[in-house]
Subunit: 258 residues, 2 copies
Amino acid sequence: MRNIALKLSYDGSRYHGWQRQKNAATVQETLENALSEVLKSNTKVLGCGRTDAGVHARVYCANFRTEGKIPADRLPFALNALLPDDISVSAAAEVEEDFHAVFSSVRKEYTYYVHNGRFKDPFYRNRAYFYPERLDLGALREAAAAFVGTHDFSAVRSVGTNVKTTVRTVYAFEALEEGDLLALRISANGFLYNMARAMAGTVLYAAIGKIKPEEIASILGSGDRRLAGPTVPPHGLYMTGIWYGGESRAAALFNNRQ
Amino acid sequence: MRNIALKLSYDGSRYHGWQRQKNAATVQETLENALSEVLKSNTKVLGCGRTDAGVHARVYCANFRTEGKIPADRLPFALNALLPDDISVSAAAEVEEDFHAVFSSVRKEYTYYVHNGRFKDPFYRNRAYFYPERLDLGALREAAAAFVGTHDFSAVRSVGTNVKTTVRTVYAFEALEEGDLLALRISANGFLYNMARAMAGTVLYAAIGKIKPEEIASILGSGDRRLAGPTVPPHGLYMTGIWYGGESRAAALFNNRQ
């Protein structure tokens, strides 16, 4: 069986998240339907993460196994012709037999977009979290820095899925100003459920003075979800990067930013 | 009666254009409903132009008359609280008694966004026209320059509304590259029906070699719509500016770019 990795992006506004579920449109199901039609065989894909309803992906990886003979580089054209305009496949490559979209990944990046304007912007509807408060970006960045490193992230996750450990390593947590948008960019070896949105909510609380940056360490230490900031809404969240190990073919596909 | 001008922006994707019509949601009707609620009195607005279904506005002017006492600078907050997230009011000011959103304007600007990428981008759905062809921007700019000046623009309009004259003055027609987006920015003293979209379609034809830039003058001279390029789809079109005359209060509101 060939093992093929797809690089895709999607606007999550019209979907109930990535993962297939009954009676609701999901990105996985939409992709599987297009793929099954192209390959003329019922085909299941494995996604690199379960994004929630309304969450977007600028970069996402899904892999699948097939006996089909279609050259991998024809797949983006064939799939895009069938996919709705809010899902797009930009690359496909045959990868190693043991490649797994989740377990082969060594690093992931999420970016949370905050629209810090005076009035809502129609073009950020479903795309960025409107947050008109005056922000202290110095305090926000100080709070963000306190998350970097290897910690137990129980204080900034929602309980929902079983995980072996709640320890993760955050490599970077940066705040980038892009006009009236604030991009909160977090990369880590993995994310707990709702961790990116709770971290974004917590640094926003620091930016409006509701949490002091120097309290972040003890909030993480407590493991108490109630001490951190809120889980901010899904529509501001984008998966923006995934990295794969070593010299693998998936690494060549994903590890270079466009 | 007070005469109040509103500065607004909207994502036109979910609307059947600006102008109120039976059995279809329009921007005008949505705004009038919010305004009537805020002013506690049935209120009609006059818009600066009829945008078609799917067309957007980053800058739009509407004025209305009222006996209401609400301070103009409270209107953006009051209206935005009632308006859906795809319409936003960013400013309001009491203007001269004789101000008219259409007739007082001295210049308008439309920008047509073309997504010239290899694959469709989910985040440009409903927002830019996907046009993956290889473009000769030199030819496109040469064709655009041929539209500048005072001409009869019959060859690039759709017949639909009665107008006294089909002569207009185009002040500028520029092509700006913004990443994989190409912004075709046209300003004129006025636009005929579908004129901006037909002009965009015509310079795109020049960019792919279907029309020669030096033919534009004779196409305009012919007045024959069939000789120019196609009317490109509405979702790439944005109203991006409007200017008002002299020292008027509306001029202060609209004539400076944000």
